[in-house]
Symmetry: C2
Subunit: 216 residues, 2 copies
């Protein structure tokens, strides 16, 4: 019963808070590396560029990690956030697209430390098939379906041009992938697959808009 109650509380965390947790998690792990044991919401706020009250509100969603006058217990807090983010569970991923973007993704620091394992890369360029990127072999895109059918893969990473997206997404859908991490410049919205779209050019356009507003 007690367990169930905790579960229910977890489910209630708004997605806007969840999106900030990795930022807290990363910074708390830095503090652990530096043997810092306590940190106040004020110090956290200053470091992360948010308000102390937002931090207190965000962290209140999953228990009490603070002591009056001492601040938060860094270790316990990092562990609890890691638990919520599921970084203690390993997630297996395949990457489609061995171009610059794919290379950048696979070389992104601390993926494996955070529980994410890329098991294979796929590309449609015969010149790339058989080569290795960051120790991981590039396979032909023609073998993607067979690979997904014979391996337990949780997440597909799309680092491909927009025009190739439909065909590749169809394979992932038919193989019941749980999630797609989409860097292709199209917005995916699928019925049975969780999708996280990384809107690279949208982000730049938002910045451009703000600069334009500032200039006027």
């Amino acid at each position: 019963m007690g367990y169930k109650k905790i579960k229910k509380t977890e489910k209630a965390i708004p997605i806007s808070v969840i999106k900030r947790l990795p930022i807290y998690h990363r910074y708390l792990n830095k503090l652990i590396d530096r043997d810092v044991e306590h940190i106040s919401s004020k110090q956290l706020a200053e470091k992360l560029g948010v308000t102390a009250s937002q931090i207190r509100q965000d962290l209140s969603h999953f228990g009490t990690f603070g002591q009056r006058g001492y601040g938060y217990r860094v270790n316990d807090l990092a562990k609890a956030i890691g638990e919520i983010l599921g970084v203690n569970n390993k997630l297996h991923m395949v990457l489609v697209g061995a171009g610059n973007l794919g290379g950048a993704i696979i070389n992104y620091p601390n993926f494996s430390k955070r529980g994410f394992i890329i098991t294979a890369i796929f590309d449609n360029d015969p010149a790339k098939v058989g080569t290795k990127i960051a120790g991981c072999i590039v396979l032909s895109i023609d073998s993607l379906r067979e690979y997904l059918e014979s391996h337990a893969i949780d997440i597909g990473i799309l680092a491909i041009p927009a025009e190739d997206t439909y065909e590749i997404v169809k394979i992932f859908e038919e193989c019941n992938i749980k999630g797609l991490w989409n860097f292709a410049p199209v917005s995916l919205n699928l019925e049975n697959v969780l999708v996280e779209n990384v809107h690279i050019s949208e982000s730049l356009m938002t910045l451009a808009y703000q600069i334009k507003e500032m200039d006027e």
Copy 2:
């Protein structure tokens, strides 16, 4: 007076709406390429995976482009959104970091078509200095300050490791850059510079969290 009034309306557009405009803009330009003249909010909604009422609400922020029974006039709507996003103004950018991620950014499709021009790349690796990426020369990071002082640059792109960020950001701040587009795995929050942080690992962790929730 009329002009001022329009300006004021523009300023009032919420940033959440602005973030969706590039998605509309991209899709409308595709329709223009296919000579589509009108589109209904329902059709737009189906294509973009949002509700028709959200589209009507979003687009209502900047004028009337719809005709009952005909839908939106694609050309006028694309032009108006482009105007708001400032894609008709050219923005000059420099890229710091000539690694995989930098290469992916500079090769990202349609940057120049959207009014973004990368004028130089900077790196601290002597082996990279003097080489070209996508036709753009790589300069030594030591010359960044001088370059910024002698060129009109609007945006700095950071595709560098976290540990190099502080030093590089300081140069940009001192040279009064307008905006930073930050891919480094740190959250920047600066007083006098607009920052758009691209949270790559945060995006993956959000997906991991949702997969974990689904599995339970």
